[in-house]
Symmetry: C2
Subunit: 194 residues, 2 copies
Amino acid sequence: MSLLDADFTNPTTHVMLGVDASRVLPEEERGVLPVRVEPNLEFMSPAFYSKDRPLPLRGRELVDALRELLAVTRWSGRVLVVDTPPGLSDSLLELLRLDRGARVLVVSACDRMSLVSTRRILEFLEQEGVETLGVVANMCSSCSALKESLGIEPLGCLPLIEDLQSLEGEREALARALAPGLSEVLEKILALLQ
Amino acid sequence: MSLLDADFTNPTTHVMLGVDASRVLPEEERGVLPVRVEPNLEFMSPAFYSKDRPLPLRGRELVDALRELLAVTRWSGRVLVVDTPPGLSDSLLELLRLDRGARVLVVSACDRMSLVSTRRILEFLEQEGVETLGVVANMCSSCSALKESLGIEPLGCLPLIEDLQSLEGEREALARALAPGLSEVLEKILALLQ
Protein backbone atom coordinates (compact mmCIF):
# COMPACT_ATOMS: atom_id res chain seq x y z
CA MET A 1 0.00 0.00 0.00
CA SER A 2 1.11 3.56 -0.67
CA LEU A 3 0.36 6.39 1.74
CA LEU A 4 0.63 10.15 1.16
CA ASP A 5 0.28 12.76 3.87
CA ALA A 6 -1.49 15.56 1.98
CA ASP A 7 -1.86 17.84 4.98
CA PHE A 8 0.64 20.45 3.83
CA THR A 9 -0.49 22.88 6.55
CA ASN A 10 0.28 20.44 9.35
CA PRO A 11 1.92 17.17 8.28
CA THR A 12 2.08 14.74 11.22
CA THR A 13 1.41 11.28 9.76
CA HIS A 14 5.15 10.53 9.93
CA VAL A 15 5.05 11.08 13.69
CA MET A 16 2.30 8.49 14.08
CA LEU A 17 4.38 6.12 11.91
CA GLY A 18 7.52 6.72 13.99
CA VAL A 19 9.48 8.21 11.07
CA ASP A 20 11.91 11.06 11.84
CA ALA A 21 11.26 13.32 8.86
CA SER A 22 14.19 15.57 9.75
CA ARG A 23 16.61 12.71 9.03
CA VAL A 24 15.03 10.91 6.10
CA LEU A 25 15.25 12.08 2.49
CA PRO A 26 13.47 10.02 -0.17
CA GLU A 27 15.86 8.60 -2.78
CA GLU A 28 15.74 10.00 -6.28
CA GLU A 29 15.80 7.69 -9.26
CA ARG A 30 13.86 8.76 -12.34
CA GLY A 31 11.46 10.45 -9.95
CA VAL A 32 11.30 10.07 -6.22
CA LEU A 33 10.98 6.80 -4.34
CA PRO A 34 8.61 6.83 -1.39
CA VAL A 35 10.05 5.74 1.95
CA ARG A 36 9.43 2.10 2.83
CA VAL A 37 8.11 2.09 6.39
CA GLU A 38 7.01 -1.56 6.45
CA PRO A 39 7.45 -4.34 3.86
CA ASN A 40 3.96 -3.57 2.57
CA LEU A 41 3.80 0.17 3.26
CA GLU A 42 5.52 2.95 1.33
CA PHE A 43 5.07 6.51 2.49
CA MET A 44 5.53 10.07 1.25
CA SER A 45 5.17 13.35 3.11
CA PRO A 46 5.95 17.03 2.51
CA ALA A 47 7.70 16.89 5.89
CA PHE A 48 10.61 15.01 4.22
CA TYR A 49 11.32 18.07 2.12
CA SER A 50 10.84 20.66 4.83
CA LYS A 51 12.97 18.51 7.20
CA ASP A 52 10.01 18.73 9.56
CA ARG A 53 10.46 22.49 9.79
CA PRO A 54 7.82 25.16 9.02
CA LEU A 55 6.43 25.11 5.48
CA PRO A 56 4.17 28.16 5.12
CA LEU A 57 2.39 27.79 1.75
CA ARG A 58 -0.25 30.21 0.49
CA GLY A 59 -3.31 29.24 -1.59
CA ARG A 60 -2.08 28.20 -4.99
CA GLU A 61 1.40 27.23 -3.73
CA LEU A 62 -0.10 24.45 -1.62
CA VAL A 63 -1.99 22.94 -4.53
CA ASP A 64 1.09 23.19 -6.77
CA ALA A 65 3.18 21.37 -4.14
CA LEU A 66 0.55 18.65 -3.82
CA ARG A 67 0.42 18.14 -7.59
CA GLU A 68 4.19 17.99 -7.82
CA LEU A 69 4.55 15.48 -4.99
CA LEU A 70 1.85 13.29 -6.55
CA ALA A 71 3.50 13.49 -9.96
CA VAL A 72 7.17 12.96 -9.14
CA THR A 73 6.66 10.09 -6.69
CA ARG A 74 7.03 6.61 -8.17
CA TRP A 75 4.18 4.89 -6.37
CA SER A 76 4.31 1.10 -6.49
CA GLY A 77 1.41 0.18 -4.20
CA ARG A 78 -1.78 -1.16 -5.68
CA VAL A 79 -3.76 1.37 -3.64
CA LEU A 80 -2.76 4.97 -2.87
CA VAL A 81 -4.23 6.23 0.40
CA VAL A 82 -4.14 10.01 0.79
CA ASP A 83 -4.55 11.51 4.23
CA THR A 84 -6.14 14.97 4.02
CA PRO A 85 -6.69 17.68 6.66
CA PRO A 86 -10.00 17.91 8.52
CA GLY A 87 -12.95 19.34 6.61
CA LEU A 88 -13.21 20.61 3.03
CA SER A 89 -9.53 21.36 2.57
CA ASP A 90 -7.90 22.57 -0.60
CA SER A 91 -6.00 19.26 -0.68
CA LEU A 92 -9.19 17.20 -0.68
CA LEU A 93 -10.89 19.44 -3.26
CA GLU A 94 -7.85 19.29 -5.56
CA LEU A 95 -7.53 15.50 -5.28
CA LEU A 96 -11.19 15.06 -6.23
CA ARG A 97 -10.67 17.38 -9.19
CA LEU A 98 -7.53 15.53 -10.35
CA ASP A 99 -8.98 12.03 -10.06
CA ARG A 100 -12.70 11.71 -10.64
CA GLY A 101 -12.39 8.00 -9.81
CA ALA A 102 -11.03 8.66 -6.31
CA ARG A 103 -13.12 7.25 -3.51
CA VAL A 104 -13.40 8.87 -0.12
CA LEU A 105 -13.23 7.13 3.23
CA VAL A 106 -14.64 9.47 5.86
CA VAL A 107 -13.19 9.04 9.34
CA SER A 108 -15.26 10.62 12.10
CA ALA A 109 -15.21 10.90 15.84
CA CYS A 110 -18.59 10.89 17.59
CA ASP A 111 -18.67 14.20 19.44
CA ARG A 112 -20.99 16.96 18.21
CA MET A 113 -18.29 18.98 16.44
CA SER A 114 -17.06 15.96 14.50
CA LEU A 115 -20.59 14.91 13.55
CA VAL A 116 -21.39 18.40 12.22
CA SER A 117 -18.18 18.31 10.20
CA THR A 118 -18.86 14.80 8.89
CA ARG A 119 -22.43 15.63 7.90
CA ARG A 120 -21.15 18.58 5.83
CA ILE A 121 -18.54 16.45 4.07
CA LEU A 122 -21.04 13.72 3.23
CA GLU A 123 -23.46 16.32 1.86
CA PHE A 124 -20.69 17.81 -0.28
CA LEU A 125 -19.61 14.42 -1.65
CA GLU A 126 -23.19 13.56 -2.54
CA GLN A 127 -23.65 16.91 -4.31
CA GLU A 128 -20.50 16.30 -6.30
CA GLY A 129 -21.37 12.70 -7.14
CA VAL A 130 -18.21 11.40 -5.46
CA GLU A 131 -18.38 7.76 -4.43
CA THR A 132 -17.61 7.13 -0.76
CA LEU A 133 -16.29 3.91 0.71
CA GLY A 134 -18.25 4.73 3.85
CA VAL A 135 -17.70 6.24 7.27
CA VAL A 136 -15.41 4.81 9.93
CA ALA A 137 -16.22 5.78 13.49
CA ASN A 138 -12.96 6.59 15.26
CA MET A 139 -12.39 7.10 18.98
CA CYS A 140 -16.07 6.70 19.76
CA SER A 141 -17.10 5.28 23.09
CA SER A 142 -20.21 4.00 21.36
CA CYS A 143 -20.58 3.37 17.66
CA SER A 144 -24.31 4.07 17.78
CA ALA A 145 -23.89 7.87 18.13
CA LEU A 146 -22.72 8.05 14.55
CA LYS A 147 -25.60 5.96 13.28
CA GLU A 148 -28.17 7.91 15.27
CA SER A 149 -26.85 11.30 14.23
CA LEU A 150 -26.03 10.66 10.57
CA GLY A 151 -28.55 7.93 9.82
CA ILE A 152 -25.94 5.70 8.22
CA GLU A 153 -24.40 2.44 9.28
CA PRO A 154 -20.68 2.97 9.82
CA LEU A 155 -18.32 0.72 7.89
CA GLY A 156 -16.72 -0.07 11.21
CA CYS A 157 -15.65 1.27 14.56
CA LEU A 158 -12.14 1.83 15.81
CA PRO A 159 -11.80 1.61 19.56
CA LEU A 160 -11.19 4.54 21.86
CA ILE A 161 -7.59 4.00 23.01
CA GLU A 162 -7.10 5.62 26.39
CA ASP A 163 -3.34 5.52 26.08
CA LEU A 164 -3.08 6.67 22.45
CA GLN A 165 -0.48 9.34 23.25
CA SER A 166 2.10 6.78 24.32
CA LEU A 167 1.48 4.70 21.18
CA GLU A 168 2.21 7.45 18.66
CA GLY A 169 5.21 6.37 16.64
CA GLU A 170 5.08 2.80 18.00
CA ARG A 171 3.78 1.01 14.93
CA GLU A 172 3.57 -2.51 16.32
CA ALA A 173 1.90 -1.54 19.59
CA LEU A 174 -0.45 0.78 17.72
CA ALA A 175 -1.44 -1.97 15.29
CA ARG A 176 -2.13 -4.33 18.20
CA ALA A 177 -4.26 -1.71 20.00
CA LEU A 178 -6.30 -0.96 16.88
CA ALA A 179 -6.57 -4.56 15.68
CA PRO A 180 -10.00 -5.38 17.17
CA GLY A 181 -11.84 -2.88 14.98
CA LEU A 182 -9.27 -2.28 12.28
CA SER A 183 -8.98 -5.73 10.71
CA GLU A 184 -12.73 -5.85 10.07
CA VAL A 185 -12.72 -2.35 8.55
CA LEU A 186 -9.73 -3.14 6.33
CA GLU A 187 -11.35 -6.32 5.03
CA LYS A 188 -14.48 -4.42 4.07
CA ILE A 189 -12.51 -1.66 2.36
CA LEU A 190 -10.41 -4.13 0.38
CA ALA A 191 -13.60 -5.91 -0.72
CA LEU A 192 -15.08 -2.56 -1.87
CA LEU A 193 -11.94 -1.81 -3.85
CA GLN A 194 -12.01 -5.15 -5.74
CA MET B 1 -14.78 40.03 23.76
CA SER B 2 -15.19 39.30 20.06
CA LEU B 3 -14.59 35.87 18.61
CA LEU B 4 -14.20 34.88 14.95
CA ASP B 5 -14.06 31.31 13.70
CA ALA B 6 -11.56 31.60 10.85
CA ASP B 7 -11.53 27.92 10.02
CA PHE B 8 -13.32 28.21 6.69
CA THR B 9 -12.48 24.62 5.79
CA ASN B 10 -14.17 23.21 8.88
CA PRO B 11 -15.98 25.76 11.06
CA THR B 12 -17.12 24.14 14.33
CA THR B 13 -16.65 26.80 17.02
CA HIS B 14 -20.40 27.48 16.95
CA VAL B 15 -21.05 23.86 17.90
CA MET B 16 -18.85 24.19 20.97
CA LEU B 17 -20.73 27.41 21.83
CA GLY B 18 -24.12 25.74 21.41
CA VAL B 19 -25.17 28.02 18.53
CA ASP B 20 -27.26 26.48 15.74
CA ALA B 21 -25.69 28.14 12.71
CA SER B 22 -28.39 26.83 10.39
CA ARG B 23 -30.99 28.99 12.17
CA VAL B 24 -29.07 32.16 13.01
CA LEU B 25 -28.33 34.93 10.54
CA PRO B 26 -26.34 37.94 11.77
CA GLU B 27 -28.26 41.19 11.53
CA GLU B 28 -27.20 43.75 8.98
CA GLU B 29 -26.95 47.40 9.90
CA ARG B 30 -24.26 49.45 8.19
CA GLY B 31 -22.23 46.29 8.09
CA VAL B 32 -22.91 43.04 9.89
CA LEU B 33 -23.49 42.67 13.62
CA PRO B 34 -21.82 39.67 15.22
CA VAL B 35 -24.09 37.31 17.16
CA ARG B 36 -24.19 37.95 20.91
CA VAL B 37 -23.69 34.56 22.56
CA GLU B 38 -23.16 35.85 26.11
CA PRO B 39 -23.42 39.40 27.51
CA ASN B 40 -19.66 39.74 27.08
CA LEU B 41 -19.13 37.54 24.02
CA GLU B 42 -19.98 38.39 20.42
CA PHE B 43 -19.27 35.81 17.76
CA MET B 44 -18.96 35.52 14.00
CA SER B 45 -18.55 32.44 11.83
CA PRO B 46 -18.65 31.58 8.11
CA ALA B 47 -21.10 28.83 9.15
CA PHE B 48 -23.80 31.52 9.58
CA TYR B 49 -23.61 32.26 5.87
CA SER B 50 -23.35 28.67 4.68
CA LYS B 51 -26.24 27.72 7.04
CA ASP B 52 -23.86 25.09 8.38
CA ARG B 53 -23.82 23.39 4.98
CA PRO B 54 -20.72 22.61 2.88
CA LEU B 55 -18.60 25.61 1.88
CA PRO B 56 -15.91 24.38 -0.50
CA LEU B 57 -13.52 27.29 -1.09
CA ARG B 58 -10.36 27.06 -3.17
CA GLY B 59 -7.09 28.88 -2.42
CA ARG B 60 -7.68 32.55 -3.03
CA GLU B 61 -11.47 32.32 -2.44
CA LEU B 62 -10.86 31.35 1.17
CA VAL B 63 -8.61 34.32 1.84
CA ASP B 64 -11.08 36.68 0.11
CA ALA B 65 -13.93 35.35 2.29
CA LEU B 66 -11.83 35.82 5.44
CA ARG B 67 -10.96 39.40 4.48
CA GLU B 68 -14.58 40.21 3.72
CA LEU B 69 -15.89 38.74 6.97
CA LEU B 70 -13.26 40.68 8.92
CA ALA B 71 -14.08 43.90 7.10
CA VAL B 72 -17.90 43.89 7.09
CA THR B 73 -18.33 42.81 10.71
CA ARG B 74 -18.86 45.63 13.20
CA TRP B 75 -16.74 44.31 16.04
CA SER B 76 -17.38 46.00 19.37
CA GLY B 77 -15.19 43.91 21.68
CA ARG B 78 -11.97 45.36 23.02
CA VAL B 79 -10.15 42.19 21.96
CA LEU B 80 -10.78 40.15 18.81
CA VAL B 81 -9.89 36.49 19.23
CA VAL B 82 -9.52 34.59 15.97
CA ASP B 83 -9.66 30.82 16.01
CA THR B 84 -7.58 29.36 13.16
CA PRO B 85 -7.26 25.79 11.85
CA PRO B 86 -4.43 23.54 13.07
CA GLY B 87 -0.96 24.25 11.70
CA LEU B 88 0.25 26.90 9.26
CA SER B 89 -3.11 27.53 7.62
CA ASP B 90 -3.81 30.11 4.96
CA SER B 91 -6.11 31.82 7.49
CA LEU B 92 -3.31 32.23 10.03
CA LEU B 93 -0.79 33.39 7.42
CA GLU B 94 -3.25 35.94 6.01
CA LEU B 95 -4.15 37.29 9.46
CA LEU B 96 -0.47 37.82 10.30
CA ARG B 97 -0.01 39.59 6.98
CA LEU B 98 -3.04 41.84 7.51
CA ASP B 99 -2.19 42.81 11.08
CA ARG B 100 1.49 42.96 11.96
CA GLY B 101 0.47 43.78 15.52
CA ALA B 102 -1.52 40.55 15.97
CA ARG B 103 -0.31 38.33 18.75
CA VAL B 104 -0.53 34.57 18.66
CA LEU B 105 -1.67 32.31 21.46
CA VAL B 106 -0.55 28.78 20.65
CA VAL B 107 -2.77 26.03 22.05
CA SER B 108 -1.14 22.61 22.13
CA ALA B 109 -1.98 19.12 23.28
CA CYS B 110 0.91 17.08 24.68
CA ASP B 111 1.05 14.03 22.42
CA ARG B 112 3.96 13.66 19.99
CA MET B 113 2.02 14.81 16.92
CA SER B 114 0.83 17.97 18.63
CA LEU B 115 4.29 18.76 19.97
CA VAL B 116 5.86 18.40 16.50
CA SER B 117 3.19 20.71 15.12
CA THR B 118 3.62 23.25 17.93
CA ARG B 119 7.40 23.28 17.56
CA ARG B 120 7.04 24.11 13.86
CA ILE B 121 4.57 26.93 14.55
CA LEU B 122 6.79 28.47 17.23
CA GLU B 123 9.80 28.29 14.88
CA PHE B 124 7.80 29.99 12.14
CA LEU B 125 6.56 32.77 14.44
CA GLU B 126 10.09 33.40 15.64
CA GLN B 127 11.42 33.56 12.07
CA GLU B 128 8.70 36.05 11.17
CA GLY B 129 9.22 38.15 14.28
CA VAL B 130 5.63 37.63 15.41
CA GLU B 131 5.06 38.19 19.09
CA THR B 132 3.41 35.28 20.89
CA LEU B 133 1.37 35.47 24.05
CA GLY B 134 2.70 32.03 24.95
CA VAL B 135 1.64 28.42 24.76
CA VAL B 136 -1.35 26.95 26.55
CA ALA B 137 -1.21 23.21 27.22
CA ASN B 138 -4.62 21.76 26.45
CA MET B 139 -5.92 18.28 27.26
CA CYS B 140 -2.57 17.23 28.72
CA SER B 141 -2.52 14.65 31.48
CA SER B 142 0.69 16.32 32.67
CA CYS B 143 1.77 19.84 31.90
CA SER B 144 5.44 18.92 32.12
CA ALA B 145 5.48 17.07 28.76
CA LEU B 146 5.16 20.39 26.99
CA LYS B 147 7.93 22.00 28.99
CA GLU B 148 10.25 19.03 28.55
CA SER B 149 9.68 18.76 24.84
CA LEU B 150 9.59 22.43 23.84
CA GLY B 151 11.80 23.88 26.54
CA ILE B 152 9.31 26.61 27.39
CA GLU B 153 7.14 27.22 30.38
CA PRO B 154 3.49 27.06 29.33
CA LEU B 155 1.33 30.05 30.11
CA GLY B 156 -1.07 27.62 31.71
CA CYS B 157 -2.62 24.20 31.55
CA LEU B 158 -6.21 23.36 30.76
CA PRO B 159 -7.39 20.12 32.31
CA LEU B 160 -8.06 16.91 30.41
CA ILE B 161 -11.86 16.61 30.55
CA GLU B 162 -12.83 12.96 30.26
CA ASP B 163 -16.41 13.81 29.42
CA LEU B 164 -15.72 16.65 26.97
CA GLN B 165 -18.01 15.20 24.29
CA SER B 166 -21.09 15.65 26.45
CA LEU B 167 -20.12 19.25 27.26
CA GLU B 168 -19.90 20.48 23.67
CA GLY B 169 -22.52 23.16 23.23
CA GLU B 170 -23.19 23.40 26.98
CA ARG B 171 -21.52 26.73 27.69
CA GLU B 172 -22.10 26.90 31.44
CA ALA B 173 -21.07 23.33 32.18
CA LEU B 174 -18.07 23.72 29.89
CA ALA B 175 -16.98 26.90 31.65
CA ARG B 176 -17.26 25.15 35.03
CA ALA B 177 -15.24 22.16 33.84
CA LEU B 178 -12.49 24.37 32.40
CA ALA B 179 -12.46 26.89 35.25
CA PRO B 180 -9.59 25.39 37.30
CA GLY B 181 -6.98 26.08 34.61
CA LEU B 182 -8.79 28.63 32.50
CA SER B 183 -9.23 31.51 34.92
CA GLU B 184 -5.47 31.60 35.60
CA VAL B 185 -4.67 31.53 31.88
CA LEU B 186 -7.19 34.27 31.11
CA GLU B 187 -5.78 36.53 33.81
CA LYS B 188 -2.28 36.14 32.41
CA ILE B 189 -3.43 36.82 28.86
CA LEU B 190 -5.36 39.94 29.87
CA ALA B 191 -2.29 41.21 31.73
CA LEU B 192 -0.14 40.64 28.62
CA LEU B 193 -2.65 42.55 26.50
CA GLN B 194 -2.61 45.63 28.77
